[in-house]
């Protein structure tokens, strides 16, 4: 694999309604910041790779068509990627493969969602004759798997509240995070309304507007710059309606992580990865993914959360930026995880920086938990 590195990460301010900017304006806000950090200009960009979640989220069909000029794709290759909620992660990987294959020297990748312009829950709930029109939203779809995790592991109910508090405490250190909840604590989380049992309001992600952009470059451009080198990256999927599928601990997630660790030469992720930005849109996914990704033994992930091991000061901090629980522009949420992992090893994460982070993981999942995208980045080439 030809070495590739992230040399620029640009993020917008995440908010419930960014009516101060149009869709192209929102995306440009992230791109301009990424270009400035990378110290490159439009002439250096060989290709543009765009990602976003389903078009029905904003009601704009094929937005890459009207966005082409504003995202600098004029007379350049432009590709659009879609893998539902994991799209931000898989888009970053599709962009990086253009460098690792030797095809290009420097690519811009950007992903976004402007959720305020329509209703994602409605968009996700068409009526089909072979299933009743229950229409319970993403939380309604995933909640039964969280209940099954709780049954298998015997985890106490306060674990979900702890994740909700920890991620929002981290968000208070990240000025770009959508949710800023000073004084967030367990009492506040458990006093919020139940949405989809076992999930309460503050155990669920918000609906956000935002964009994230990355500049990914080959060695001759990245050398001498502050860079996050890609040590391993992988995507996997599994059959949504397949017999034997285990949505609590999906095989595709395990395989994807195993592939990334093998590329990165990681035998023990818990010891060798310093921190991780993992896609946790609902509180219980933190312990579930701790196990799925091999940080914790089966049914023991919740003990990590309970012992504070995933806090900023813990031995495996999860979601230092506040995570999806604090900002969720769906199409961008995976790329934010990948970009925040890069910022950690670049030492550019600001107040939510993990001291001396040398190796970090970015992770995304999407659809009915059947799409996975992950990478591990390092300070050293």
């Amino acid at each position: 694999m030809i070495p590739a590195a992230v040399i620029g990460v640009g993020q917008t301010k995440y908010d419930s309604k960014r009516r101060d900017v149009s869709m192209p304006g929102l995306i440009r806000e992230a791109i301009d910041r990424a270009l400035i950090q990378a110290g490159v200009d439009w002439d250096d960009i060989d290709a543009v790779i765009l990602g976003k979640a389903p078009d029905m989220f904003e009601g704009v069909m094929m937005p890459e068509l009207f966005l082409a000029d504003s995202i600098g794709a004029y007379n350049k290759p432009l590709l659009r990627v879609h893998t539902a909620g994991s799209v931000g992660g898989s888009t970053a990987i599709m962009a990086a493969t253009h460098i690792t294959s030797g095809q290009y020297k420097c690519v811009l990748t950007v992903s976004f969602e402007k959720q305020s312009e329509s209703n994602a829950t409605w968009a996700l709930s068409p009526k089909y004759p072979y299933t009743p029109h229950i229409n319970a939203g993403a939380g309604g779809y995933f909640a039964p798997y969280m209940r099954e995790y709780i049954r298998r592991s015997g985890a106490p109910e306060h674990i979900g509240w702890q994740v909700a508090v920890k991620d929002r405490q981290n968000a208070n250190l990240n000025p770009l995070a959508h949710l800023q909840i000073p004084g967030i604590d367990l009492e506040m989380v458990k006093s919020t309304p139940m949405l989809w049992e076992p999930l309460r309001y503050l155990e669920s992600c918000p609906s956000s507007d935002g964009a994230c952009a990355l500049i990914i470059a080959a060695k001759d451009i990245a050398k001498g710059k502050n860079a996050a080198w890609i040590k391993g990256m992988s995507v996997r999927s599994e059959g949504t309606l397949s017999a034997g599928r285990d949505e609590v601990n999906p095989l595709a997630g395990q395989m994807c992580a195993k592939d990334v660790y093998a590329q990165a030469g990681i035998d023990n992720p818990l010891k060798e990865i310093d921190c991780a930005e993992i896609y946790v849109p609902f509180s219980w996914y933190e312990p579930m993914w701790l196990e799925n990704l091999g940080f914790a033994d089966k049914n023991k992930g919740w003990e990590f959360t309970d012992q504070g091991r995933t806090e900023l000061s813990g031995d495996i901090p999860f979601n230092m930026s506040g995570g999806v629980l604090s900002s969720n522009p769906i199409g961008a949420s995976g790329m934010i995880r990948f970009g925040e992992a890069a910022l950690q090893v670049m030492g550019e994460a600001g107040e939510h920086q993990v001291d001396n982070a040398k190796v970090a993981m970015g992770h995304a999942y999407g659809g009915a938990a059947q799409f996975f995208a992950m990478w591990v980045v390092g300070k050293e080439i």
Binding site: R19, D20, W122, P129, Y130, A136, E148, L241, G244
Partner: protein, 165 residues
């Protein structure tokens, strides 16, 4: 930022009408449901039984040509109690959305559970379909109004783990 009292956007309402071609397997399933029966399909390689059938086994990538008739009884694989109203949803919250695993099937589908206090529902509970009056049946799984408890002893959740043949 703009003054929030100013209207600086326009609303564009989109209405979409679809014609969905169900395919042979799902068409067969819907035709059977219209007669109050539930049919699935079995994989010739791993013996997995799919209901509703999609015509192929994702594990093996082969057609599931053998039809299997199932009962309308099964168990709760997992569930949630939905408390929030969602636009366009005809069902009033709170309601129970459950993954129903019919006897003999190797995947579950989502349906409603009623005729039991919510706090008594549990993983592994035995349930059976409550059908709408026959004159209301169409080619839709909504011919089943909801599932209700049978009163039989719960099953062990581990017994639902699929073992390919």
């Amino acid at each position: 930022m703009n003054n929030s009292s100013e209207k600086d956007y326009f609303e564009s309402l989109i209405s979409l009408e679809y014609t969905h071609t169900a395919g042979s397997a799902t068409t067969r399933f819907l035709e059977a449901v219209a007669e109050g029966k539930i049919v699935g399909q079995k994989c010739p390689k791993c013996s997995a039984v799919y209901v509703p059938p999609r015509g192929s086994c994702p594990r093996d990538g082969v057609p599931t040509s053998e039809e299997v008739t199932l009962t309308d009884r099964g168990c709760v694989e997992s569930f949630t109690v939905v408390h929030i109203p969602i636009p366009g949803n005809p069902i009033e919250p709170p309601f129970v959305s459950a993954m129903i695993r019919l006897d003999g099937a190797n995947i579950s589908f989502l349906h409603l559970i009623q005729e039991i206090p919510v706090e008594e529902i549990r993983i592994g509970m035995r349930v059976e379909a409550v059908w709408k009056p026959q004159e209301e049946w169409t080619t839709s799984l909504e011919n089943i109004k909801w599932f209700k408890p049978t009163g039989e002893p719960d099953i062990k959740p581990e017994s639902l783990i699929f073992k390919p043949k």
